[in-house]
Symmetry: C2
Subunit: 152 residues, 2 copies
DNA sequence: CAGTAACCGTTGGGATAACCAACGAAAACC
DNA sequence: GGTTTTCGTTGGTTATCCCAACGGTTACTG
């Protein structure tokens, strides 16, 4: 594991070196994770973005879309599209905020809450399949390391 | 960290729960890693895919494109596009394989080898920035955990 | 040795995710 | 009261990944 040439300038190992970089590894793992979760959530007709938005709405009551954007760190446009989809499925509703007529007060319906519970369970199972090769301790270790990388 | 409700059915924690799943964390970290590396490689006019393809060509001598596809696990179309770009920049050349007229023998030019060395250095620095919040031991731990997830 | 199957490079199209620019309406600021 | 900022929305762009199909070539098989 300790390579004598950290820059990979040794031609014979150039490929293996690149494939051991986090930028490569996280890309591959993230792609596979997305596939697994998307496949699981397909049973509910939702995708990762929908799941995240729905969870934020359920968790933090009625809130404006701009607040969703800030909490999830997503693009405002994507939030609009995701909410359109969720609203069309009756999982979420947009009401005008009487205190600020620019805002929509987004809240979850009962079916939205129930759907979120099912989706969260499905996402959990998909992640378990992803993490299968690791022990429980290693799984939590990986999660905490990733969380620290992402905080900035 | 040990949550009593692993399914996140508690509404108030639904969002935090999703954001602690590897499917979410790896997605965010992978995006940031790609940004950092892409920004670094822009100095050479290349992108992640080009870097990987160029590294494989330099490392494993003249080889057919189908062999590149197998080694890198990339889509055949993307390999064609990346090679077109690399060839146009004079970093790589395609020659007909006399032993099998279906194949192209892809090899790197001297400038390709030199460019790869610079790109690898740049990618290394970008990854160091990404991994900055972690200690050296933690960095290697993260890499080995990710590698084990990706092997299947 | 003819006929079929498999492989090779290439082209076309499509799906997804993430991002940026700009707009009218409304509120906040000074 | 006029400027600035916020909010929701629409439009378009880019990068990555994947699938289907094609002509040309080789390998397999009866």
């Amino acid at each position: 594991m300790a390579r004598t040439d950290p820059t990979g300038a040794t031609p014979a190992h150039a490929l293996e070196h690149i494939q051991s970089l986090p930028s490569w590894l996280t890309g591959r793992v993230a792609t596979r994770a997305r596939e697994l979760v998307a496949e699981a959530l397909a049973a509910e007709g939702l995708r990762l973005g929908h799941h995240a938005v729905l969870a934020a709405v359920v968790a933090h009551g009625p809130l404006a879309q701009a607040e969703l954007v800030r909490r999830l760190d997503l693009d405002a446009k994507d939030v609009v599209v995701h909410l359109d989809h969720l609203q069309q499925r009756g999982l979420v509703q947009r009401r005008p905020d009487p205190a600020d007529r620019r805002k929509n007060a987004v809240s979850a319906t009962e079916e939205g809450i129930a759907t979120l519970a099912r989706c969260t369970e499905l996402a959990e199972q998909a992640n378990n399949r992803l993490l299968e090769p690791l022990s429980t301790a290693e799984q939590q270790l990986l999660i905490s390391l990733l969380a620290r990388l992402q905080q900035d």
